[in-house]
Every structure is written in C-alpha cells, then in structure tokens.
C-alpha cells in the first residue's frame, strides 16, 4: 500500500502540464467561412491556450508509455482502425531517430487524440477555436487570400508542404504538413427546423459558404473533407494539437 501511495504521488507530480509549449490565443470575433447556422454570421471566441505545434511522435510515445491502454497492441478496434500507429517500429518506439524530434504524430484516431489531450488537462480544439486561429494567422501575418487558397489546395492536391512561418502568434503547422483532429469535426448544419447532417454531400454544404471566392472554397474543402472522417480513422497526414482553458493556467 505504501509503495502504491508513493507511486501515485510520483504519478501526480509527473502529470505533464501545458507548460511553455502553448500560446495564448486572444479572444475575438470569428466570422466562419461556412455558416453552420444561417442566422449566425459572427461568433465570439474566448481566449484560450493552444499547443504551439502539433503533438510530436516523441510526446505521443511518452503518452502510450504511461497509458498502456493506448499502445497499438492494446487499444481496442472500437477506438481506432487498423492503421493506428502503423508506421511505428514497436509499441513504444515511433522510430524517429533519423527524423527531427518534433515530427508530428500521425496515424492516430480521434479517440486516441482526445485521450492524449485529456491526459494533459486539455481537450481537442473545437471547430470554432481551430478555424478561428487559422483566421487569426491569415490576418496577423497578412496572408493574401489567394496565397492561402493555393496552400490549402496544394496540400489537398499534392500534399505539398506549406512554406509558411507565423510571426504573430508563434504557431507552427496548421496550414502546413499535417491536418489536425478537432473535437466536433463532423458537420451538422441547421436551418430553422431543418437539420442537415452534411453527410458527405459537397453540394449541401457549399450552399452555406459565405462567399464563393478561392479562399472560401479552400476553407470549405477543409470543413467538408474533415467531416468525412470517422472517429476511428487514422491517416498518414492527420495529427492533432491540444487546447486548454486559459483560466486554469494563469
């Protein structure tokens, strides 16, 4: 019992915090590029903390070390498809020797991503939070709309890495190498009494775009393709980062 208590104490001290690797996202108004509610043109977003970079393979390896139920040999199929951590060399080894330490983890399901963030006292960003940060990045770095559209289309088309350095918030990725899980990735649109589950039909969702220019099409493509994932989906270009409430941190 004493040993258990000791271990428990060590564990509690060992809980990783958000630490210095997250940035404060200032609150503000967000104008969604796709209107999920016809009447709502602007959403107010409260300030929150966001991981500066996507969760790395190294960080995820630490997570599965302390959470054996999420190792690829143990996690039930209920929570992940057959590709889960497929490119790892073993249960605990992501095989990143040759790669940079910060290589984002991919081949993770939505369930696994959420469990990771939860273990750090955070959560996956909501769609509003994530897309709001993209709008801030574009605004604060003065990214021309067409350039933004080119990046996004390039990524979906040829998986072209985006050569974008954020000089305003200190955010890495998001418009770069990997796409990211969010908490409410599935579209569900409402128009008064009518509810539309946006079940993969682009025509349905596209009518709710605010404007029909390149930049809006690019954002819409992200909304729609993200909505087509299932929660067990794992792919080589889908990772995640975590968000945290600002209150607990300050």
């Amino acid at each position: 019992m004493r040993l258990h208590r000791l271990l428990l104490t060590v564990c509690l001290l060992n809980v990783p915090a958000w630490g210095s690797d997250s940035v404060v996202i200032p609150g503000g108004d967000f104008q969604p590029p796709v209107l999920l509610d016809r009447e709502i043109q602007t959403t107010e977003v409260e300030a929150f903390l966001l991981d500066a970079a996507p969760v790395s393979k190294t960080a995820f390896a630490e997570f599965v070390t302390t959470h054996p139920e999420w190792r690829r040999s143990a996690a039930p199929r209920l929570f992940r498809d057959g590709g889960y951590l497929r490119n790892w060399t073993s249960d605990l080894d992501p095989g990143v020797e040759q790669e940079a330490q910060g290589t984002p983890v991919t081949h993770v399901s939505w369930y696994a991503a959420r469990a990771f963030c939860h273990s750090r006292g955070g959560h996956l960003p909501s769609m509003t939070q994530w897309e709001y940060v993209v709008s801030l990045l574009r605004e604060k770095n003065q990214v021309p709309d067409d350039e933004y559209a080119r990046w996004v289309f390039g990524w979906y088309g040829a998986q072209r890495p985006v050569d974008f350095v954020d000089r305003a918030l200190g955010i890495k990725g998001m418009l770069g190498l990997v796409n990211e899980w969010i908490e409410d990735y599935q579209l569900l649109l409402s128009n008064g009494e009518q509810i539309d589950f946006g079940g993969g039909s682009c025509g349905d969702t596209a009518r709710l775009m605010v404007k029909y220019d390149n930049a809006h099409y690019a954002s819409f493509l992200r909304y729609q393709s993200r909505s087509n994932y299932t929660p067990v989906t794992t792919t080589s270009n889908l990772g995640f980062r975590c968000a945290y409430p600002l209150e607990g941190a300050l």
Binding site: P68, F79, L188
Partner: protein, 217 residues
Amino acid sequence: MKIKSKVFGLTATALGLAFSAQAVLAECDHHKDHHDVHLTEHHAHTPVAMVEPLSDESLHHLPAVWRDHRNEPLTLSDLSGQAVIITMVYVGCQTACPVLVEDVKRLYYGLNEAEQANTRVLVVSFDAKGDTPEVLNTFAQNLGGDLPGWHFVTGAEGDIRTFSSLLGIRYRQNPSGGFDHSNVIAVLDRQGEIRGRQEGLAQAPDRLLGALRGALN
C-alpha cells in the same frame, strides 16, 4: 438479478481501493502484459470475475461513469450479459425525443417477459448541463419510462460525445440552446457489440426486434 445486486453492494467498498490501484496502473505501470492492465482498468468497479476478454468492438470498453435518473452510477460494462436498447435525447426537446422514447417502448414491449428481463434500456442525454438526474427522473416518469432496467443517464460532456460517436450519432448545440441531433436507436448484444441500428423516427420495430432477439439468443 439477485447476483447482480449483491455485486453492487460490494462495489461501493471496493471502489475506493480499486481506484488508487487503478490510477497507479493507468499512469505508471510499464507492464509488458497490456491486456491484463487493460481489463483491470475498465472493470475495476465491477468486481465480477471477467473470464472472457472483451471483444475488440465491444462498447463495454468505454470507461465512462454515467449517472441515471435514480441518481445511481452506471458503466456500460455493468450491462455485460444483457442486451441493451440505446437512444440519445435531451429533455428540452419537444418533438423528436418523446417520439424516440415511444419507439424504444414499442420495441421493449415487443419482447416477452423473459426477454425483457434480459434487456436493459439506456437513454443518454445530450445535455450535460441541463439534464440532471432529477430532471431526467421527471422526464422518465412523464414518458412512462421509469421502469425496472431502464436508465435515463447523464454524464461528462466528453463522454457524451464519445458515446454518440460510437453509435454514429451527430449532434450540436444550436444557438437557441437546444441540440440538433440525429435520431438513432441502437441495440447492443450481451457482449456490448452493436447488433442493430436504426435512423429516423416512428419506424416499424420489426428489424430492431429481430436484432434484439438475435442478441438475446
């Protein structure tokens, strides 16, 4: 049923011990044998000897602890060995939700008494904030759903989203405070795997009744 209630009596005392051990296992154990760790974690609160390992697709893997309209805790693995009828609603919902509960009742009353005795009903609320056990209790009573083996439950927001995702139910809180959601009734077999799933309201119960009978036999 008798055995079940005895086990529940033990649960309260075992829970405290199980919890600290569980935390250590979950956080620190670098055990090679993941499978044992896994089972221990998810079944710590039901000290029934688990002979069969959980199947890969069993919803009993879900560790969430719910609270039902009788203010009793409930975990999906508590329903092991029984068929389960599931739907998701919220109390503030005027139109679809009472119909969904009616559909579930029709399904349940389509079973004979012996089958009913081996079937549980789980109605999970979308509204973590508004639908307290007390609110759910009134709702259950008003709809004639406060029956033995029926549980109208609430839980943590994240657990509600996990649960809905496992059943392929989409929902979103709308600006007026209500929830837009898909209307789904699902049937779990005794091992916790989904045996039947139906979308839409007021459908003929035959198909799900068949799934339920298949799950029971």
